[in-house]
Homo-oligomer: 356 residues x 2
Amino acid sequence: MTQKILVLPGDGIGPEITAQASRILAACQARGLDVEVFEGLLGGAAYDAHGEPLPAETLEKAKAARGILLGAVGGPKWDKIEDLAKRPEKGLLGVRKQLGLFGNLRPAITYPQLASASSLKPELVAGLDIMIVRELTGGIYFGQPRGIEERDGERVGFNTYVYSESEIERIGRVAFEMAQKRSKKLCSVDKANVLEVTILWREVMERLAPEYPDVELSHMYVDNAAMQLVRAPKQFDVVVTGNMFGDILSDAAAMLTGSIGMLPSASLNESGQGMYEPCHGSAPDIAGQGIANPLATILSVAMMLRYSLDAPAMAKRIEDAVGKVLDDGLRTADIAAEGTRTVSTAEMGDAVLAAF
Amino acid sequence: MTQKILVLPGDGIGPEITAQASRILAACQARGLDVEVFEGLLGGAAYDAHGEPLPAETLEKAKAARGILLGAVGGPKWDKIEDLAKRPEKGLLGVRKQLGLFGNLRPAITYPQLASASSLKPELVAGLDIMIVRELTGGIYFGQPRGIEERDGERVGFNTYVYSESEIERIGRVAFEMAQKRSKKLCSVDKANVLEVTILWREVMERLAPEYPDVELSHMYVDNAAMQLVRAPKQFDVVVTGNMFGDILSDAAAMLTGSIGMLPSASLNESGQGMYEPCHGSAPDIAGQGIANPLATILSVAMMLRYSLDAPAMAKRIEDAVGKVLDDGLRTADIAAEGTRTVSTAEMGDAVLAAF
Ligand SMILES: CC(C)[C@H](C(=O)O)[C@@H](O)C(=O)O
Ligand SMILES: CC(C)[C@H](C(=O)O)[C@@H](O)C(=O)O
């Protein structure tokens, strides 16, 4: 059965990087991947065209797709929109929520060819390979009540950090299963010394643990986790945490690899339907210059093949092609270094295609 | 008028490090500082003695004190206490709240003698000097409603992230004034693309800005701030943020200096009454061995002299004494390096006293 793939270029460098990833997708089709690829508008691009960041048409297409490839959304152009519900980011959050993409996988990997690009000392990040499992459709991002209102003569802003046992269990199982496939070590991050919601989080993780006797579960407070990531990141393998803490820690982890232009991510629901996007943002400062790094988006295609399309061999071919291009010394400007050749977004796409 | 100083040794290495800091305090008295020093129980130590982490007697003493010197609270021994209200951490939070210590100053400084101890490349952290201003008595730490309850047949945990305009304004003014005294750059960290409470936060910061025309205010999302701290920490000078984000970012910043054993902090209320404590924790794994680093606690005394006791010259003498001891090559185990001499907690105290 032909599967549908939706490409959402989004904003900033989004169109440039998804253009290259789409070429790889086309090459996969040429090699027999049975998919139909179509495009849609999300984020600022959708707001400009239709006055809303997630038009009904895009949502319909997204629901029908097995895999969604997203560039990135947002930029200063739309930061002044008064109505929070119309901002580009809300389009992204809408897709996550509407499709139930609760399981966010954010690998933080140091590519051997790029270890020196890290701001950490090379020995601390060489060979680093962390998988952050972030809950993506709950927590304070979506909790009710929320808003800004008048109380006792002044305005008060409020949001609700909330998780139910079933939400925690669902993401916990994703993380335990991930740990079983990897080093069998799982670290759950919370703030159980202060926040009740994370006391429940810790309790549910503990309750699941006996079902995964081969996995060693540990707990860490979020402030300590932020420190430990900086101090000795290789102590981590699989990390599971809620939406907000996951947002912060996964970005820190991605940055410390030095390979942030290289890192893909997956957001999955229970049926394996998924959205795939680079970890980096829309980089409006370099948009339109043809210099953005398309590799994280290309590697997001590989993740899509692996997690949503059951085509791990083809995923591996893409990853190997990216590895070869790096070995050959090609770099976009963000990862340029002495002794390497700086290429444009399109040239990087060419090179990966040639190596594929 | 004789001012009262309360020393709260707390748990883990707390008693060892406050013992050394108390010797410095005594030396300050000998040099004419007009204070009366007394001790109290807080945290696990208080729980063990009185069944609660913040006994009424301690709270009374704290209220009467101009300055409080805290070691650290908490440890695995008390992590199993079922009732969250009885945990050591709640003693600390209780003092903060009861005394209205809303302004938390957390410097992240790289000591030139210790730059190589950072996990970051030396050029990225040499000369680093960030001041994180964290709101300490509001936000999700204290927001109501909170708890764990049954809803639709399952348990749900919830906390409330809430700030009023006046709370934001109060900490904003501390940060703007701090920026005026330093490089005149202030970065406010929020998640205004997702959370309403931080939209209000950003709005209030913007509203204050014209009153401090010499300060350049910028805004950054918390996930980006976590990345930027890792990538290029020297871009920051004064950072202001809420309780939870401040907890995470200040620990990350402290760790990346490589000098975490050296970093003091202050928590102030509107009348200048303050609690002073090291940034590091109670380190139960090395408690009782006489090897903990007392310098952050000794430097906390210096901060107390500066912010609560109006004795900046004496504060400077303590800081200079610490600098001299480092120059002389003395190090506790946590900051030991080739070519330096590893000393015990007490020996480090001796050395600072001798240099004072
Ligand atoms: C754009 C923003 C809403 C989003 C988030 O906070 O989840 C982004 O930072 C991410 O991590 O995917
Ligand atoms: C011990 C804990 C409650 C406390 C906090 O989270 O505020 C600590 O991490 C700190 O930063 O002072």
